[in-house]
């Protein structure tokens, strides 16, 4: 256990240094904030344009998508944090052979590397939410977080992040076998969650098969409960029949399942890569 903790701590520190030491701290902070805030601005202007063209405001939908998008920052950064570890170590720094043969858990090492990205994304999420509350209230972004709901919020947040890490490692195991360009994977896979997890619009907008996919993904329940806690109103998301604790139970069970799955798939990817001699391959085209 002590080795796991030491690996996690060192990997997290390494991840932080690799992410941030290319520039001055203040520039890194701006860099970490500009991307997600620009992402939020895309949605703001999409809303402004359709409101302006049709002349009818829809503040509840806007608040719904704004909060969902703010928390989606965790999804992008956590998934990218896990996807890119194998390929950056293998192709970019070409250090994977040394890390891989060291007496540590490579799984825990990836968790540690991803953790530094989660820490940075916490600030981006907070700033995006604060921006919405203070500057977009007139557009309909209103949030509330009462003291009695705080434990539920933090428990769901912890479960959400944990399931994200598990999903990230499950999919990241595929990069053992892929040529470089995990950037494409990191860009593409969150798209699945963007569409099917009710991040930006209620699940009920999707066709029935799409709703079924969404209901099978744990993140759907994380976004649902987060919005129930933060927004003063509820839209019809198709999950109204479940109370908060039931939603939390879904999230907990799926987190455990995905954690087990991540270990299995990771070991499989590792095994196949070793058998094919791809652990330290480089693809330069």
């Amino acid at each position: 256990m002590n080795t796991y903790w030491r690996t996690f701590k060192t990997a997290a520190w390494l991840g932080w240094e690799m992410d941030s030491n290319w520039t001055e701290p203040w520039l890194f902070v701006i860099y970490s904030i500009v991307k997600p805030v620009a992402g939020a601005f895309i949605l703001i202007f999409m809303y402004v344009v359709i409101w302006s063209i049709n002349g009818i405001p829809d503040p509840h939908s806007f608040a719904f998508l704004y909060v969902g998008n703010a928390f989606f920052i965790f999804v992008g950064s956590t998934l990218f944090g896990t996807f890119q570890v194998i390929q950056s170590d293998r192709e970019w720094y070409q250090t994977i052979r040394y890390v891989y043969i060291s007496p540590i858990s490579y799984y825990v090492y990836i968790l540690g590397r991803a953790f530094s990205k989660i820490v940075v994304s916490v600030f981006a999420v907070l700033i995006t939410l604060a921006f919405g509350v203070f500057l977009l209230a007139s557009y309909g972004v209103q949030m509330q977080l009462t003291l009695d709901r705080l434990p539920l919020f933090f428990v769901s947040l912890a479960l959400g992040l944990f399931v994200l890490l598990a999903i990230g490692i499950t999919l990241g195991a595929a990069t053992f076998l892929m040529a470089r360009h995990s950037q494409t994977l990191a860009e593409a896979v969150p798209g699945v969650f963007y569409v099917f997890c009710g991040v930006l619009f209620p699940l009920t907008i999707l066709p029935t098969w799409g709703q079924a996919i969404g209901e099978a993904i744990p993140l759907t329940y994380w976004f649902e409960i987060t919005r129930r806690i933060l927004l003063p109103f509820q839209l019809n998301t198709g999950l109204a029949g479940f109370d908060d604790l039931e939603i939390l139970a879904f999230l907990l069970v799926s987190t455990v399942i995905f954690f087990a799955l991540s270990i299995g798939v990771f070991k499989l990817g590792e095994y196949l890569a070793r058998r094919a001699g791809k652990i330290d391959m480089t693809t330069s085209y």
Binding site: W22, T23, Y31, V34, K35, P36, A38, G39, F41, I42, L43, F45, M46, Y47, V48, V49, I50, W51, S52, I53, N54, I56, D58, S61, F62, L65, E91, W92, Y93, M178, A179, H181, Q183, T184, L185, E187, A188, V189, P190, G191, V192, Y194, V195, V199, L200, F201, P202, I205, L206, T282, S284, Y285
Partner: protein, 307 residues
């Protein structure tokens, strides 16, 4: 003058050499795409989902607007279709922009990191031919994703394009691509200078450029917002995708789409600006490359890695 020197200075030989270089550098990208079937899936299929998310945002809000004002439903739905088409066109352009960032701008830095750059520098062809080959190969690779986005837009989302002037449309499209890849060639040299910041700069030029160049909404909306919004839109228009998309939307949706009030300029004027941008970026790329090569040789950093 020896026969070999005379041959190297012969114009016909140099043109042939550089054309072969373009083909040679484009070749691994074209063939590489075929050798990695997973790329087709990741490049062509999965990105459609992000586009679908933006499509559903417009649909969700438009359906609520219809519920609030059923009498106006035909107009609201027509506008929604135009916005969905805007997203589909933007999604196709995203593919090219990402390719410019990750496979053009970052490429020379990447080549330096893996040790190919010194080989390129020793080879007798013009460096612009090398970048040109990368661009041609990149365009081919990316076209798969762009075409699949357009097909999905038409088949899955029911987007209807009305092309009244196909020649103008082709001209805008190709000039936009040349300008975009010219910018990528220019960035390639700068990234070589900036070193490790290059990767982060590419990452930084995704969402902010998607926003400031109006990839998912008509750029005119940003121009008309006034204040800082207009400033951001002007800056975003320096990226050729911004005006290129605006012109493509006018040419495929009709000038009357969105009530005709969200266009930046007319399509012919935008084409003229794009031509200027294309020529300008190619010239900048040529000089930046020569400058960087000289600088790197002088400072002995051409082959130093991880800096």
């Amino acid at each position: 003058m020896t026969a070999a020197v005379a041959r190297r200075s012969d114009l016909r030989f140099r043109i042939g050499l550089n054309l072969r270089s373009i083909v040679g550098r484009a070749y691994p990208r074209v063939i590489g795409a075929n050798r990695e079937p997973s790329w087709i899936f990741f490049e062509a299929v999965l990105p459609l989902l992000s586009i679908a998310a933006y499509v559903y945002i417009y649909r969700a809000i438009a359906l609520n607007q219809v519920a609030a004002n059923p009498v106006d439903a035909p107009r609201i739905l027509a506008n929604m279709n135009a916005l969905v088409a805007s997203v589909v066109l933007g999604g196709a352009m995203v593919a090219f922009w990402l390719n410019v960032l990750w496979s053009m701008a970052s490429q020379l830095y990447w080549e330096k990191e893996i040790g190919n750059l010194q080989l390129y520098m020793m080879a007798p062809m013009n460096r612009m031919a090398l970048l040109g080959g990368m661009a041609v190969g990149g365009m081919f690779m990316t076209s798969v994703r762009a075409v699949s986005t357009l097909v999905a837009g038409v088949v899955v989302f029911g987007v209807v394009f009305q092309v009244a002037n196909p020649l103008m449309l082709l001209a805008v499209f190709f000039v936009t691509l040349i300008a975009l890849y010219g910018l990528g060639m220019f960035f390639a040299s700068l990234y070589l200078l900036w070193g490790r910041e290059a990767w982060n700069l590419s990452a930084l030029m995704e969402e902010p450029i998607f926003f400031s160049s109006g990839f998912y909404f008509p750029l005119g909306g940003l121009y008309q917002s006034g204040g800082w919004g207009s400033v951001v839109a002007v800056l975003g228009s320096i990226i050729p995708a911004g005006l290129g998309l605006d012109a493509l939307r006018q040419l495929t949706l009709g000038e009357t789409a969105f009530g005709g009030k969200f266009w930046v300029l007319s399509a012919p004027v935008e084409l003229e600006i794009l031509v200027v941008l294309a020529v300008g970026f190619l010239i900048l790329a040529r000089y930046a490359l020569a400058y960087l090569e000289t600088l790197a040789k002088r400072e002995g950093k051409l082959t130093s890695r991880h800096q």
